[in-house]
Symmetry: C2
Subunit: 337 residues, 2 copies
């Protein structure tokens, strides 16, 4: 059975949402959970659920990383935080995967430096999942672990993204694309033109550049870019979904007739909302570190937290890290050869 | 009266939409229009409207730039295209502003090299308008005229954007922000950190970094970034609006009850659609070139084309180019001093 170390103090609704998510995961998934955080608070929350016999164990941690802590501060000054303790459980082999809905920058830093990097990986990449028009998922990476990435690093993101997509969505030859500002090879900036050249020569199923508007089209599976770009893409999407939701609500409230209309079509809207809810997808893995790490949105509800644990378990089960290290070592050998 | 040179062969629905847009503009705005393109086609389209007495004059051009022409090809090999002829009318003082809904890359290249740059401007910038939650407009620039911009160039975008926003939306001290991946000064990549430093020291009303999700919040008026980033932001937004519209349609069609609901709330939806229709805003000005240039979306309908002409007329009337040149000369003098 897979063991997950859950940082139970990280999210905006911690530890309540985390504890409920852990209970759901322990019931529905084949996982054992180390619930890491302030023991008294966790015991109290756990007491709200029927948990007897569930494979959940509380691991005490005396500190909490907050959303306003800088990654450096969280890493250096809060060594007994739930995040650090959870990461050390993975490092020491007592858990197979780390899941946190905390401060993304802090989780990335702690994971990177407590767990360390896979030997063949230059930089870790955060892989965000975007629901697309084909009702599938397109993965974009990096969505914020790095800035100013070099072409060789973005090529590594492509290899990691390919293995991740294959493992989680069962697609044998995921279509890989490069995010740019035009389809032609020449379009883009210096780094994307160099990256295009590397990807073209690789053994990946590279289909070329995609533009921002193609991200949701579902014609490609994995989209690579520098983390600054990917983060802007992710946050713009989240902001726009929120904005459109708000406009829709306001438009509907503007007349009695449309309120009746809304009541009649409520189910359709609920479906729609569920599908634009990016956190439902279940968190973004931080690929390239030594140990499975999945970061959920700070606003995750218990279902999203359970889904993040499901993704973590699948990543461990399908040996994604071993595959990444093998393939990138082979690429490195080929490059030297 | 202001004279506009309209490239009537550029858009996806050219010349029909352009001619109808010109008729609307001639009726509703205080402008004279040079309708530039294949004379026979324009005459025929114009014949579909009551146009006697309207200040519209056809100017013949024998070639057409297509969406698949490379900017270089369009610029060097199609000197008698409607785009070139319209640009030359502005260069030669026969028109005050250039409006095109054609191939964006080609329009930018032709405008830049036929009209030339304002002496104090290093690079032109395309300013995209984003409707925000406060029911106002936030302008992002550059949305694709440049890639790999330097900090000093992005600072110029801020000055140009400020003047544009002030002139068109009448806000005295527009709030200027830098698009980045965190609010703190230290967040971002090398270029944004340098740009932050320059903007902090400027006389602009600089309010700091904004993240992707804040773009729609309406707390800032002008958002600056490199053109690669801005183009991704714009295209992602367009793609997502289309995607959400599609999902909504599908969700509603899924049951009879929600179809009735939809019929009852139709007006609300129409309002909503109009407000998420980015082309309604009326085209993006290319700031920094010598001569007012406004680029509309290729899919512009006649109303959008009229709106692009309205924006062009306002830019000319408020002497945006003179102001840009003055302020940037002053900045350059101060920097040397």
């Amino acid at each position: 059975m897979i063991t997950i170390a859950l940082d139970a103090m990280g999210g905006d609704h911690a530890p309540r949402a985390e504890v409920e998510g852990a209970v759901l995961a322990a019931r529905e998934l084949d996982v054992r959970i180390h619930l890491v955080g302030i023991e008294a608070a966790l015991k109290q929350e756990l007491g709200r659920h029927r948990h007897r016999g569930l494979p959940i164990e509380i691991v005490n941690a005396t500190e909490v990383v907050t959303m306003s802590d800088s990654p450096a501060h969280a890493f250096r000054r809060k060594k007994d935080s739930s995040l650090h303790v959870a990461a050390r459980l993975v490092r020491d082999g007592k858990a197979d995967a780390l899941v946190s809905t905390g401060n993304t920058g802090a989780v990335m830093t702690v994971a990177r430096f407590v767990l360390g990097m896979l030997p063949s990986v230059d930089r870790p990449a955060l892989a965000g999942a975007f629901p697309n028009m084909k009702e599938k998922i397109s993965v974009i990476l990096d969505v914020g672990a790095n800035v100013d990435s070099k072409a060789e690093q973005i090529e590594q993101f492509a290899v990691m993204g390919e293995i991740y997509y294959r493992s989680i969505w069962g697609v044998k030859r995921p279509r890989i694309a490069l995010l740019s500002i035009g389809e032609e090879e020449m379009k883009g900036n210096e780094v994307t033109r160099e990256t295009f050249n590397l990807l073209k020569q690789s053994t990946l199923n590279f289909v070329g550049n995609v533009e921002g508007r193609d991200v949701f089209r579902g014609d490609v599976d994995v989209i690579v870019c520098d983390g600054f770009i990917g983060n802007i893409a992710l946050k713009i999407s989240e902001g726009l979904v929120e904005h459109i939701g708000g406009m829709l609500k306001k438009a509907i409230k503007s007349s009695l007739k449309s309120q009746i209309g809304y009541a009649l079509s409520k189910k359709a809207f609920d479906d729609f909302r569920a599908r634009t809810n990016y956190s439902e997808v279940g968190g973004a893995p931080l690929l390239g570190v030594r140990g499975v790490t999945v970061i959920g949105h700070g606003r995750s509800n218990p279902v999203a937290i359970k889904n993040a644990m499901r993704v973590a378990a699948e990543l461990f089960r399908s040996r994604v890290n071993e595959k990444i290290d093998q393939e990138l070592s082979a690429v490195a050998v080929a490059a030297r050869g």
